[in-house]
Symmetry: C2
């Protein structure tokens, strides 16, 4: 008998609860990313999560809270992909490459998360927490654009617009692949990166 363990800090109860929470979030992510918020019924989420319909309401106040939970989960994961262990001592071109690669990794590893985030972006049912998370998680990139602008490296365009152009280009690339217009190869991805870098800073400089 082990008297060094007074009580398990994580009870069976907590463990189960965590697993269930995850199962619900994952099921909701899958369905919302395919058909959008209004296109999915809550009992359907319950079924996919192998959970009773009532159980969802023990974890989330209502359907809106559920979609916000999924949003915050996905956005946090994206931020982790983008910024964890990021080396801010790189030169601008290297930083750009890091962002591009990390974004690509996210889109490849977590296509459902990526699609979900694109679909729900700026939806009217997103709450204050979700909106702040959106702004926060883009802030480092905006800072990068602003600095590059100040250093006369980036183009003379408002940094927000620069960021929007490049983010939009990336999203367009992924969406067109999703839509079946082509299959992205490694070399196409690299070529797209340098094309976007040339969008970012004037070619002659």
């Amino acid at each position: 008998m082990d008297i060094t363990t007074p009580a398990p800090s994580i009870s069976v109860r907590e463990r189960n609860a965590e697993a269930k929470n995850q199962a619900i979030l994952e099921a909701a992510l899958t369905l919302f990313s395919a058909r959008g918020f209004h296109g999915v019924a809550v009992p359907e989420v319950a079924k996919l999560a192998n959970v009773g319909a009532g159980t969802i309401y023990r974890y989330f106040e209502n359907k809106e809270a559920l979609v916000n939970g999924v949003y915050q989960h996905a956005k946090t994961l994206l931020a982790a992909y983008l910024f964890d262990d990021f080396d801010f001592n790189q030169n601008p071109r290297e930083k750009f490459h890091s962002f591009w690669s990390r974004l690509r990794q996210f889109a490849q590893d977590k296509p459902t998360h990526f699609r979900f985030l694109e679909l729900q972006d700026h939806a009217p049912y997103l709450d204050v927490v979700s909106r702040n998370l959106e702004i926060q998680s883009l802030a480092p990139i905006l800072t990068f654009c602003t600095q590059a602008r100040a250093e006369k490296i980036a183009r003379d365009i408002p940094p927000e617009a620069l960021m929007a152009l490049i983010w939009g280009a990336f999203v367009g690339l992924i969406k067109a692949q999703d839509a079946g217009y082509y299959t992205l190869s490694e070399s196409t991805f690299q070529a797209a990166e340098s094309a976007c870098w040339d969008l970012f800073c004037p070619p002659s400089a």
Copy 2:
């Protein structure tokens, strides 16, 4: 009494029907563009169109047919903005400028149409006619990209990917404005155009 007019070729009935059809399409466009297909109730469309709920079903078989009607209407208008009286004898840079300006004009004149088309793109409830219209209306741009590629003017990237990057960049620019991140000025639009042109073709050439 005027015996020279045997019968009016357009009856009051036909005229009213046309007006009603338009009113329904416009109301549906407004609501769908704001809240998506599943987020809008048909009687709500009827109310905004000043029409009885039943009347909608005299013009459209069901809700799906309605959203497809709106889609086809909007996509056709976009194609008109993009291609009507287009001068295909311009050089590539001039053609690019024409496309960019026309797309901008559409986004400015018809922001609701633009938003609707972005929101419903590749939605599972779009029918064959809508999907074909999508492909058809982008074909001239794809042809432009393919030709520019063949003439070694455009970057060495699959033309579909090039188009996706530029289209995506444009959409990103407009969406970020919609989201309130900034207000687009004339000069920003021009700068964005040349940035995208540099994305399109290698800067050194």
